[in-house]
Subunit: 590 residues, 2 copies
């Protein structure tokens, strides 16, 4: 049942499950659950959704991923960037707070799940390669800034709209006068507390003699402490009556599984955002999973990850959730807490279910400013300006793709930002490869070697032009090949033979083949014979599938040296092998 | 004044202009003018425009190209494929026959001209590389079929709508009962005559003793004869009164130069079609120009061609024309008729002006079926099914891009067809390069060579994994590199060192750099040291711009052999150079 083991990794690890693993997984699940409760509420708020949707998205998707995913320790659920992208996508089709908005979010998860599943089954994971690293990091940095800015309204306790950085800042400026000082106090207090926890608490605890592990765990519980404390404050001082926005009543009980309403027009509208969410979620998730798997020398299978994430999103789509993916922070906590198998995810899912059933009444008085502060702390850790500088120093082309993504995301929108970055990286890649290095070569006297005439002292003859192409030939550079050869020939009126040295050509696609045919034809019209030398085996096999070899006015030589000897370009060669040299009359051979 | 000579090629050839060249150019211009009159009317009809617009597009644009173009013999003006694309683009924004339709066509020429000019000045000609040969040929074949089908309505003398092949054929079927037999007679007669002229007349004339040149010229005049004869027939039998559609009154006089009305909303709508028209027109035009230039060992400069075609289209846009480009048939006639310089284009322009002033009254009675027949004959020569088979045999990936273009163009539309083809070729290119060939290598005993362990008998040690990557590393394959190395390491628990042999790596972009950093980091977490060997000079220079070399847990070796000796993998090496081998403790070096 190799097939089953491939598509259901659970059959592999499930078989060897024992009590010690169970203990580890249960402990990890407990810790992750505590961390996930505030996080799920916060990210749902970021996506503009009711808080329970965040909890729902942390239940069934985890079970689905545990069955199909290949990472042992990846923790799947709502994450910041995908929540922002969800808000942006469904904000286009419905107003926040309406039933249509919620339905669209659930449908988005389902579409994204089906797309991921299809990509997994069709082995289309390579599509994620369209997203280069600079585009992804630029996008994540810009998203972090955008998310942090969008949360400021909860600090000020004002209601504003706006999707782009500029709009958000402009609206905040207009409404700053309406600031609710209680909300601002709660927000700033939590923010300061969380930064203290993150930056100082661990060292402090350890200096008091606590071990690394428990110190770490207490530090991770910081957001939960903040939640508990601010609920208490809100109740004590009746902040709700003083205009501080609270989370409000969260329906108790689990989501009823069922397909969302499927409106085909809406599916069409959401298709592109769903694809972007799927790809970006996949790339991020695989990157986290790879990093964790490497620490224990485990393997993750990217194509199966598509299936795992697809299943998780379909699960979100049929249980009133919204798009999910593998999150960095939660997965690291899961890993550090000692999770051994995806069963930890199943237990976490059970933990969140219990919380949804029994804990929600206590969360009604949670100030939204508390959640906003946890979001800001989480996303600002995603913002990485140093990488911008590093990419600038390393490659201007990559930098411009990154800069376009950042500026596009901040000032134009989340989707246009990504699309702009992807298009620009493709254009730049095409530009880079469209002008392959081509050298006119000559013979190094006394050897069989040929080198660039511009860099070495080599022997050439005016009748023969030898050109080495240092790149595979394909559609992006085939026209340059035509132009360049035409140029080189036009500069050398004495040329009667052109020899194309193909030692670095790994492939010739149909475009390049047609260009070679054109070059052959044009050179023939000009009375020049075209030859190839050092054609690699696979390339030669491919050329035999065409009629190029019959049409070629000249010959294919095994080596450039042989070509020169045959064509009479090597003076040594001529002397040595005059008998073998055929009399080549330009244009007559064809 | 090198600058001026680059941007104004006329300064180069104009300086050496003399009487003999003048005679040649004048004769060529006369022949081309005769050919262009029916062609201009026909292509305007194909674009859904009044006939005079075709004539206007053959006046000022030719002068503009003569000033800025680098081809000596390219003949610019209305062509079939661009006329079809024009009809498709402006059919979206206005109804045929309205003033808005005409205005949109003129504006389209202006936008396209500005785009071409901008691309030329910014040296963006490489953007045309997005259009692979299979996509272009597929598109032209599909366009040819579509155009031929769209002309059948003039044969039947019925009025139908429909943009896609299916719609046209379905409508024709419905209206076949309304066929006007006179129109059918004229159309079929002209079609038969033109095919006779094209396939037989030249041989016939030559067998009667006529020289190749005059026989050729008479053959080229076939369409003009058909025009004259059918005008005579239409007048004689008063076909207009019998329901045969005639060209009708053509305004006498030249277009008054002036900017068209610029509606920004319309500009936005037409931007994408204008870009596609520009790129396809450019690719076709450069290909014709290169072919002709090669015959005389002249050079054309693609970036300057963008400027030339841009100027021609701007000229069309300010003289009530519509998008133009370099045409194959007309350029070949120009070349064969002996044109030496672009001055022939200026004289042709004068010829068309005279025709517009004095000949138009005689064209009013020309049956549209005659023009339809000339179009069909012209475009069916563009349809090339053999290339489909050749590409199928040569490369399935290229074939699928071509097939998608053909089917998309025929059954979805002109623009979606091209876009589909371009996107598919990019996706397939990315797929092809996303999994570069990687070989685990071992030492060929007694040599310093390393070869693929799957193909050769080589020595390896379990602690050292040597991997050769046969491709430049960039965003499309950087994640595969991560996955593949993780996979290879996971299979080999004894591995302590990974050596990446970079002899075939010509470039490492920022994505690949980040992947290498990740690989280094993950291997380090797993207690494995990463080394590189045989890194090329330019790649090494680039890596020095990053902190990768400091972070690298292992070392950079000049050769793979040196790496194996140092790391103790080569048993010979160990014995010989035990003193030099440092004691490498995994993970400690960093």
């Amino acid at each position: 049942m190799r097939w089953a083991a491939t598509y259901f990794p659970i059959l592999d690890w499930g078989r060897r499950y024992d009590r010690s693993v169970l203990t580890n997984d249960l402990l990890a699940a407990l810790i992750v659950t505590i961390m996930l409760i505030p996080q799920s509420l916060a990210y749902a708020m970021l996506a503009g959704l009711p808080p329970e949707v965040g909890l729902y998205a942390s239940i069934l998707p985890l079970v689905a991923y545990a069955i199909f995913g290949t990472s042992r320790t990846l923790s799947v659920g709502p994450v910041a960037v995908v929540s922002l992208m969800t808000a942006s996508a469904i904000g286009e089709v419905a107003a926040q707070g309406t039933a249509g908005y919620l339905e669209a979010a659930v449908l988005l998860a389902l579409i994204s799940g089906v797309m991921l599943l299809a990509m997994g089954l069709l082995r289309l994971g390579f599509l994620a390669n369209f997203l280069s690293h600079p585009v992804i990091s630029g996008f994540i940095t810009a998203s972090g800034i955008l998310i942090a800015a969008s949360q400021l309204k909860y600090f000020l306790g004002v209601k504003i709209g706006g999707d782009t950085f500029y709009e958000i800042i402009a609206e905040l400026g207009l409404r700053a006068g309406e600031t609710n000082l209680y909300a601002l106090g709660i927000g700033s207090g939590v923010l300061a507390f969380l930064y203290f926890v993150r930056l100082r608490l661990k060292t402090l605890l350890m200096s008091r003699g606590l071990g690394l592990r428990p110190a770490d765990m207490i530090t991770k519980a910081g957001p939960v402490l903040a939640v508990a404390a601010t609920i208490a404050i809100a109740v004590m001082f009746d902040l709700g009556a003083k205009g501080v926005a609270l989370v409000g009543t969260i329906p108790q009980g689990l989501p009823v599984p069922g397909l969302p309403a499927i409106d085909l027009e809406l599916v069409r509208t959401l298709a592109v955002p769903a694809l972007l969410i799927s790809l970006i979620g996949f790339v991020e998730s695989v990157s986290v999973a790879q990093t964790l798997a490497a620490k224990r020398r485990q393997r993750i299978v990217p194509d199966q990850e598509l299936i795992g994430l697809g299943a998780a999103n379909i699960a979100a789509g049929i249980s009133s959730g919204y798009p999910v993916t593998g999150g960095f922070a939660r997965s690291v906590v899961n890993f550090d807490a000692g999770a051994v198998t995806p069963a930890a995810g199943v237990f976490t899912s059970a933990g969140i279910s219990l919380a949804t059933l029994f804990l929600t009444p206590y969360l009604a008085n949670l100030p939204q400013a508390t959640l906003a502060a946890t979001i800001i702390v989480a996303v600002l850790s995603l913002v990485d300006f140093s990488i911008i500088r590093r990419v600038w120093i390393y490659s201007k082309a990559d930098f411009s793709a990154m800069a376009a993504t950042i500026l596009g995301t901040l000032f134009w929108g989340v989707e246009p930002g990504v699309v702009l970055g992807v298009v620009l990286s493709l254009v730049l890649h095409l530009y880079r490869t469209s002008r392959p290095h081509m050298a006119v070569v000559g013979n190094v006297s006394g050897t069989e070697h040929f080198r660039n005439i511009d860099r070495h002292t080599v022997a050439t003859t005016p009748e023969i032009l030898s050109i080495r192409v240092d790149e595979s030939l394909y559609f992006a550079n085939s026209r340059y090949l035509e132009d360049r050869i035409a140029e080189l020939v036009a500069e050398r009126p004495a040329v009667r033979h052109v020899v194309l040295m193909c030692s670095a050509v790994n492939a010739i696609d149909a475009s390049a083949l047609e260009s070679l045919e054109e070059i052959n034809h044009r050179l023939h019209d000009a009375g020049i014979t075209l030859h190839l030398s050092e054609v690699k085996g696979p390339v030669m096999d491919r050329l035999k599938c065409s009629d190029f070899l019959e049409k070629l006015s000249g010959r294919i030589y095994l080596s450039q040296y042989e070509a020169m000897q045959d064509l009479g370009g090597d003076s040594d060669g001529i002397a040595d092998s005059a008998a073998q040299v055929p009399s080549v009359i330009p244009g007559v051979r064809q």
